[in-house]
């Protein structure tokens, strides 16, 4: 029996490993967008050099893969010759193997791809990787109360709200909740068509 295995490729996007030389520049470019940074991270928004991003990618690619996985998201372009274009990243981190739990993080740096379903599809793909390849039991994430678009996307991918750390963030002169979401393997709908031939 032969089985077509689930590649990390969908209709809109695919996941690939980053190339330090090619992609460090991109990560640095995206981080110049303050809104992108403030949707992504609770650390103070700040700027790092391309060199620093390159070092981070190299370090990540170099180490023994035990508790985190980092992918670049590429989307098919609209023009006639349909090329793959990097638009963001998605990664699993802090994996607790004995408990089968991991944190997921995702960011779409290219603004023209916001709200087009690319992030949701990339999330579905990393969930397939988490549940079907790593055999995890659940995947967790946190999202800021003001990131309404992300919350909707996560719900579409199957995540449920599990609570919130009240008023944890302070930004733009007011406080916001940190929302926790999670998805269990049993709640996850595998929409990949495994074809046996």
């Amino acid at each position: 029996m032969m089985m077509t295995t689930a590649g990390l490729q969908g209709e809109l996007v695919r996941l690939v490993a980053p190339e330090p030389d090619r992609d460090a520049e991109l990560l640095a470019k995206w981080s110049r967008d303050a809104e992108y940074l403030r949707l992504l991270d609770s650390d103070p928004a700040r700027q790092w050099s391309v060199k620093k991003y390159k070092e981070w990618i190299e370090k990540d690619l170099d180490k023994e893969r035990t508790d985190d996985f980092f992918f670049l998201i590429q989307a098919l372009t609209d023009d006639a010759d349909k090329k793959w274009r990097p638009i963001g990243f998605v990664g699993l981190g802090g994996i607790r193997w004995t408990h089968g739990d991991a944190w997921v993080g995702i960011g779409i740096g290219e603004r023209e791809y916001w709200g087009k379903g690319c992030g949701t599809e990339a999330m579905r793909m990393i969930l397939r990787f988490a549940f079907d390849e790593l055999n995890l039991h659940r995947v967790s994430l946190t999202v800021f109360e003001y990131n309404v678009r992300a919350i909707r996307s996560y719900e579409k991918a199957g995540f449920k709200v599990e609570g919130k750390l009240r008023q944890l963030m302070r930004r733009d002169g007011r406080r916001w909740d940190l929302i926790f979401m999670g998805i269990l393997k049993e709640d996850w709908r595998n929409d990949y068509d495994y074809t046996c031939t």
Binding site: H99, R138, S140, K164, L165, R175, F180
Partner: protein
């Protein structure tokens, strides 16, 4: 105006630095109590050597110095008045993952030896570290992550005003089944309220 002169000292316990040469042997014994380790964290429970624990102390102090985002104290039971014996290590409290721009932090606390539990050490250490978090570090909130099976910690934090905020479903796999990981949180103004009530009760 009244200033509190003894940030680190309560009636029963004191918050101090680690004393690697003396503490490591005591803490080594605690790591043989797998149930104690399970109550504290989701990490793999296993016995550690004195060497490993000393390394951990070194890493801890280095991390405290370099990141400025962690405050760890050894909890020591105070020697009875008139006694020559020194203070005795009974546990630890730790504030970590501090995000200064948001005023938030993560709290953990443990009393290592079963004989030292239910004697008020933990309760007093918690009062001290909350005062430290809210009146010295000026944090806005703290939270503690507690496994669902830890039947002591959940009411322990609730009694001090912590509210359940998050329940990560089935995040832990132990004793042959799945358990939730519960986050309990406390805001500084909630803490000020419980403190007032406590002071009134004490006067009454």
């Amino acid at each position: 105006m009244e200033m509190n002169p003894s940030l680190f000292e309560g009636r029963l316990v004191r918050l101090t630095s680690v004393d690697p040469d003396k503490d490591a042997e005591i803490e080594r014994k605690w790591t043989h109590d797998l149930e104690y380790l399970h109550m504290l964290t989701e990490q793999i429970a296993m016995p550690l050597s004195i060497f490993q624990i000393k390394k951990r102390y070194e890493k801890l102090e280095k991390e405290m110095e370099e990141s400025g985002r962690q405050f760890y104290f050894a909890v020591r039971a105070k020697a009875a008045a008139g006694h020559e014996s020194p203070d005795r290590l009974v546990g630890f409290v730790n504030l970590s993952w501090i995000e200064w721009s948001h005023g938030s932090g993560r709290l953990s606390l443990g009393i290592g030896s079963p004989q030292d539990r239910r004697r008020g050490y933990g309760t007093e250490a918690l009062q001290l570290i909350m005062r430290y978090a809210f009146h010295e570090l000026n944090l806005f909130r703290v939270e503690a992550a507690v496994p669902e099976y830890n039947r002591i910690a959940l009411p322990f934090f609730a009694k001090s005003g912590f509210a359940e905020e998050v329940r990560q479903r089935e995040a832990l796999h132990r004793y042959g089944r799945r358990w939730d990981l519960v986050y309990m949180g406390l805001l500084s103004d909630e803490w000020e309220e419980t403190r007032k009530t406590r002071d009134v009760n004490r006067e009454a």
